[in-house]
Symmetry: C2
Subunit: 173 residues, 2 copies
């Protein structure tokens, strides 16, 4: 494949690289793709009231994580508890405005934890349907993640307020 030329192609390539690093359990690769204030020329020892370049991350069903420390720790934990993860990306949409790019995509995830017993290769595989909003900033070192927000796409059943009673709902007496 030829090198990406346009902004949109470069952003798509950075977005793909992020998911490939997650698939490979490549913590350094994931870390290198997240923005640092230094990427933007901000002195990290100075407390900036506008929090320029401070990253944030929301994993599916979870609260907000703010700052590189919290965000990267969460990826280390995910990698430690995941033996296999694959992302099939669909519906990738990129909007580039100035030095910021907004990427929306659907993450069709197949993952498995460590095998419950020795001798087995993998724990049970789980499929998940997740949508993501990824915000990238242009830096002299390429496009870097400023924010990742991923959330489950719930089916009608899961959206119900409480656990469904399988008896009686369809045939109210």
């Amino acid at each position: 494949m030829s090198a990406p030329h346009t902004d949109v192609e470069q952003v798509e390539a950075a977005n793909t690289a992020f998911y490939e690093a997650l698939e490979q359990g490549d913590f350094d690769g994931v870390s290198a793709l997240w923005l640092t204030p230094a990427d933007l020329g901000v002195d990290e020892t100075y407390h900036d009231p506008a929090d320029v370049g401070v990253v944030s991350c929301v994993h599916p069903g979870s609260p907000v994580l703010t700052g590189r420390g919290e965000v990267l720790r969460s990826y280390a934990l995910i990698m430690a508890s995941t033996d296999y993860i694959q992302f099939f990306l669909t519906d990738v949409h990129v909007s580039v405005t100035g030095d910021t790019a907004l990427v929306n995509c659907t993450e069709n995830i197949l993952s498995g934890g460590p095998a419950p017993e020795d001798g087995e290769e993998l724990g049970p595989l789980v499929g998940q349907l997740v949508v993501a909003t990824n915000v990238f900033r242009r830096t002299s070192d390429g496009w870097k993640l400023w924010s990742h927000h991923a959330s489950p796409v719930l089916t009608e059943n899961e959206e119900a307020d409480g656990p469904e009673d399988s008896e009686g709902d369809e045939n109210p007496s």
Copy 2:
């Protein structure tokens, strides 16, 4: 309250205005707060391959909506099915980088649909814990929403794969 001066104060005010417009069922107010490509000087009749200023929105548990048409239609539908909604915002965090602002906040939502029978004022009230990532762009007409992604914060119980059987879980035989 005095007029907001710094970027962070202006972004916080735009974020608050967005939720107040939703609380008031003010469709025009919500519409005015979402970015249009024209706000950025983009001719809307030209198909821009970078989709400059094209908005996106993810409601809790839902797929991605792209473009003003889909996004604003979703707010019209929400307003039509909601008689009462209040947002108590907590943990508001703003990061401004150049002409883009990233806002994370927790939306503690209390809402109610139309009364099921005449004579009652409101349907049952429902509480929801939601986290949001809101991306704003600076325009000559103030900060405007480029992206909104909201997702449920799930408890341990809801994260389980299937509906829980209320009997037998605590006392497995």
